[in-house]
Amino acid sequence: MSSFDSSLSRRILRMRILVTGLAVVVAFLLGSALVALAGINPLTALRYLFSGALGTRHGIGETLTRFIPLFLATLSFAIAMKVHFYNVGIEGQIALGSLGALLVGVYVTGLPAPIHILLCLTASVVFGILWLSVAGFLRFRFGANELLTTVMLNYIAIYLIDILVETVLKDPNSLINQSQKIAATAKLPRIMEGTTVHLGLVFAAIVGFIVYYYVWRTPGGFELRAVGANSKAAKYAGINPAKLIIIGMIISGGLAGLGGGLNLLGYQSRWVSGTFLGYGFDGIGAAVMGQYHPLGMAFSALLFAIIRVGGGAMQRSVGVPYPLVHALQGIVIIAVIISAYFIEKRTEKMTKGGQ
């Protein structure tokens, strides 16, 4: 019986991957049509997209560097979704996480490198949690819809950091509005020679595994999922939903903040006024595509990173305007969410057929 079950679930998994893959292919075909509209040969453009993102050592490095904050954003969104907390404010939490790392990285000095880095990352996690807590507080105290408050907090976060960077945090030796660079002891070391890939990739992988283990392999994670699946039943089982929503919220905000911190310590090193990272918004799309599972989200975050880096390469080589990247990501999200319908139908059929 159990071997039969596992063969069925393997077949379902294979079908899910196949259908989702098909949806991505359809999305790329539609994206190609947009490229053709610009009078550019889509095949040439696609070749530059993939060779730019994966064809060279440098390109792979760029892709993996962008993967880091994207992957953490997907984890952040997924954990919050598990407890039905709509955290659309990841962009803002990433920005605040960057700010936390920046403050400690620039203004705390004289520490040995590992300790300085850990202190910076702690600050980024705390800042991310605090920023999400604003929305959390407003929901629990006043019942304000967190989806809307987190959207608004995104705009406020980005303007707030720009104000700081243009005033108190401005680098006095710079002509443009930007902060100072973080101290050398706060920089995350590069781990792939000749590329921008930094130690943050290892952190992201470890965090991804911990999240997977916690949510799917521990009693606490089981309670978390139970609340998301059916909060009434969970209450009967003696689980306190409010407590678990708060736990989910804290993890979500912390992960987003960490993503911002890793990106700042490993890649940006400073904040330039007017920076818009966009990892938070892309991360939500990638989380949906990865169906909220860490492994699926690792793939989709990687795909979104490839589209980002490849989009830059397409612009430089054949002049495809960069915003195509967002159009393509939008199409991917829509194609994948529609494909979920076919997966659901097909799964029903396969399970019934097996009985």
């Binding site: 809307l148 939008g330 829509i334 659901e344």
Partner: protein
């Protein structure tokens, strides 16, 4: 009252209207969709689409009317895509909204760069003329209210009409019924899918028109990501307005006035970072959300998935 004060009040009223109109179009569109039980998270993207295609239609033909029609067409097409994916393929309303928003952020920026236009030479050259209502326009202080363009007057008519529509017309009552209890409505022969599709498409057209107003009568040019959260503010205004068109009107006016005020603060030279002024509408939105909680009045089946038996 000195004349300087009068002038400032005049400017304030005028820009309150200018800031309110695009949001109010989108919010009314969202309201119609939500009355039928479907959350329209795509207002932001729809406004961007309307802004770009209105601009483009006008750029190519030199006709404002064509611009307006292009915005409406973009809204209708997007509304159809939303309807099919949400109603037929049971896609999550939130995820579809996010997808559409990211898509149009990219598509409008992409097309804008492809047509290779930037700056003054591509400005909408014939601003939609304002229609002066005789006598009323001469009233001191509020005279500015009566020298608006036709899209503003149309909006006033729409607000009044929407209120009647949901309470007095069969189509309006049917829409409300499928928003309150789709299964009961279906049982008495109201086609849930058809009514919801109608609401989504019409609502999306209005939201796109709101974006079109921005390029045709305000900015006179398209800028990437120019909607910048207004769609979400419109979404919030629906909640603040407790799902009535009068309430939505007031909600949008509050945002319009707040934005206009933050403009004035900068113009009269109070020394604050310009980003602080830009933050104001978003902060107001959060404050308003907190203050409005408790009333609710949302359609009972709002956001729920509908499976035909």
């Amino acid at each position: 009252m000195d004349s300087q004060f009068m002038i400032i009040i005049g400017i304030l009223l005028g820009s309150t209207i200018r800031y309110t109109v695009p949001i109010l179009y989108a919010a009314l569109g969202g309201l119609i969709t939500e009355k039928a039980g479907v959350l329209n998270f795509a207002l932001e993207g729809l406004m961007l689409a309307g802004a770009f295609f209105a601009y483009y239609g006008n750029l190519v033909t030199g006709s404002i009317l064509v611009g307006v029609l292009c915005a409406l067409a973009a809204g209708a097409l997007t509304g159809l895509i939303l309807s099919i994916s949400i109603l037929k393929y049971k896609a999550s309303q939130l995820v579809m909204g996010i997808g559409i928003n990211i898509f149009y952020l990219g598509l409008t920026g992409y097309f804008f760069r492809i047509i290779g236009s930037s700056g003054a030479e591509t400005m909408v050259d014939d601003l939609l003329g304002s229609i002066h209502i005789p006598l009323l326009e001469d009233i001191p202080l509020i005279g500015v209210l009566f020298e608006q363009n036709i899209l503003v007057y149309l909006l006033v008519v729409l607000v009044i009409f929407t209120a009647r529509f949901f309470n007095k017309t069969t189509i309006g009552l049917n829409l409300k019924a499928v928003g309150e209890n789709p299964y009961a409505a279906a049982a008495v022969g109201v086609d849930v899918i058809k009514n919801r599709t109608l609401a989504i498409v019409v609502g999306s057209m209005l939201a796109a028109l709101g974006g079109g107003v921005m390029t045709l009568t305000m900015a006179r040019v398209f800028l990437e990501n120019m909607v910048n959260g207004r769609g979400w503010i419109a979404f919030t205004a629906i909640i603040l307005g407790r799902y009535s068109s009068k309430g939505v009107l007031i909600g949008c006016l509050v945002f319009g006035a707040a934005t206009a005020l933050s403009d004035i603060v900068q113009i009269v030279g109070i020394d604050i970072p310009y980003q602080a002024a830009l933050m104001v509408p978003y902060i107001i939105t959060i404050v308003a959300l907190v203050l409005s909680v408790g009333g609710g009045n949302a359609p009972a089946a709002l956001g729920a998935r509908y499976d035909r038996e």
